[in-house]
């Protein structure tokens, strides 16, 4: 499992999960679920086009994901999601389907772009992934405090001199970069789960921002390592394991939180009763 051709996947997966945890942490706080859902779908035709043209998929991904960011900002101005934006997303998928139909390996290409590919990380890919991940990580560390304040309470952040629109653009751009790196490995349909599942679970565990962020990273790494090893061992698609592991983390953590909150309520109630 740790042979030379898998090493790349392990390194790439670890790096991607790390930045996905960081960015996903804020996706959950900012309630940007729609952006996290839409960007991978918008990036999908980019990878398909690159596949068709025979170029490195990263180019296609980055271009389309950049377009996606601009589109999202336009859509945010029009209003929240409605039928139109849903149709736009499906249109992107349709374009991707068309592009892939023009290649010679329609089926396998569709599968790996939608559901991920464990073996697809070449040395060149790995360098690109690591560079992007390091950049995103540095940016996230740099912006941690303003981003946390802006995400939790935009009005207060504005008073401290933080410009909400600029934060939004920076964040969306970082989200776009993570999407572009994660898509080839876990697939367009599972990027959302990797981004959102571990942090949502972590935030159910801890109310301390830094601790919660640390848990996000731990859960994300568990998710990706589990997915890679199970996929390697069973030959089943990695997307399946990411989907299931991510969902399990999410459900378990939410369950824990509900139980914890109920315990607290019972304790408070018994205190009140004892006082009477």
């Amino acid at each position: 499992m740790f042979s030379s051709f898998m090493i790349n996947t392990w390194i790439a997966g670890t790096a991607i999960a790390l930045v996905a945890a960081f960015v996903g942490f804020f996706v959950v706080i900012r309630r940007s679920a729609f952006a996290a859902h839409a960007l991978p779908l918008g990036a999908f035709p980019g990878a398909a086009a690159a596949n068709l043209l025979g170029v490195n998929p990263f180019f296609g991904l980055l271009i389309f994901v950049g377009m996606g960011v601009l589109l999202l900002r336009q859509l945010a101005r029009i209003g929240r999601r409605d039928v139109g934006t849903g149709l736009l997303l499906v249109l992107f998928l349709g374009i991707g389907a068309l592009l892939l139909s023009m290649t010679s390996e329609y089926g396998p290409a569709v599968f790996s772009l939608l559901f991920g590919e464990v073996l697809g990380v070449s040395d060149a890919d790995l360098w690109a992934i690591l560079v992007i991940c390091v950049l995103v990580l540095l940016a996230m560390i740099l912006m941690y405090r303003p981003l946390l304040l802006d995400s939790s309470f935009p009005d207060l952040a504005a008073l401290q001199g933080i410009r909400n629109a600029r934060m939004d653009l920076i964040f969306l751009s970082l989200l776009a970069l993570v999407t572009a790196t994660a898509l080839p490995v876990v697939g367009a349909f599972l990027v959302f789960t990797l981004l959102v599942g571990p942090p949502a679970a972590a935030q159910s565990f801890s109310g301390h921002p830094l601790l919660s962020l640390l848990w996000s990273v731990i859960f994300a790494e568990i998710c990706i390592w589990g997915a890679i090893s199970l996929s390697y061992w069973s030959n089943w698609p990695i997307g399946f394991f990411v989907g299931i592991l991510g969902a399990m983390l999410f459900v378990l953590a939410r369950g824990y939180r509900h139980w914890h909150q109920r315990q607290r309520r019972l304790v408070i109630r018994s205190k009140v009763l004892n006082q009477k």
């Binding site: 349709g94 089926g107 599972l190 990411v242 989907g243 299931i244």
Partner: protein, 306 residues
Amino acid sequence: MVPEVMNELWRCLSQSAFLNSQPVQTALIVGACAALVSAIIGVFTVLRGNAFAGHALADVSSAGGAASFLLGISPLLGFLGMAWIAALGMEWLGVRKARERDLATGIVLGAGLGLSALFLYLDVTTTSTTGAAVSVMFGSLFAVSRELIWPAIGASLAVFVLVALLYRPWILTAVDPDLATLRGISPRWMGLLQLLALGLAVAVCALAIGAVLATALLIGPAGAAIRLSRRVAQALILAVVIGLTSVWAGIWLAYESYYWFSGHAWPVSFFVVVLVFLFYVFAMLLAARTRARTNVTYPTMREREN
């Protein structure tokens, strides 16, 4: 004069290679079923603000479609079964805080699609079906088996019957749930029945243009029609027209594209999605212009946002 024109038309049609090809005939019929049911159910779905639920159901139903090859059942049944399981699950969980719903639905979608991935992989490795991924996700309308025509028609009829019977209660629950309860109509049951009908529509659409693209037919024609109509009946008719046009034109374009691109046809689903999108944009522009010109906001039915 008219009978002569009619005769000429009939001669053209009956001799066209397009209409004489079996796969095309199957495609036209199944496609029409998909367009009709999705238009009708779509109107109620969008009115209820459930567009995202339709999208989620369609995506998750892909797992059923993929499993159908493993189980040896018809893909229509596979899509339908999964859609109904998901619909019941959604109804049981209920709609809680909007924020939870966003995250939770997304996670469940991911798990469902992950399941599709597994089934599609097993399809390739254990059965002899090829191209399962493509036909489940993006549809291969020309490759649909003739045996599925009657089941598709049957599913569509079931939806028609449901709508015909429950038309008024559904509108009432969409517009004023409290009043509906007062009149003895349970919004929860109505909602459940709508979800089940939605499942039927999802199944037929998934069969026609693939699970992942089915959303376009489910919400597109309905969304466009609602923007342009003032009454539900109007919207229903308009949605059917738009849906049917998109599907049949899509089929024809895909057929012709075989000749344009020397043997390499473009997928039907692509054309259908593009046409639906164009119709929607056109409807939006038209509606905006009409509002601007008359300077009155029509009491159009609101598209409730998710």
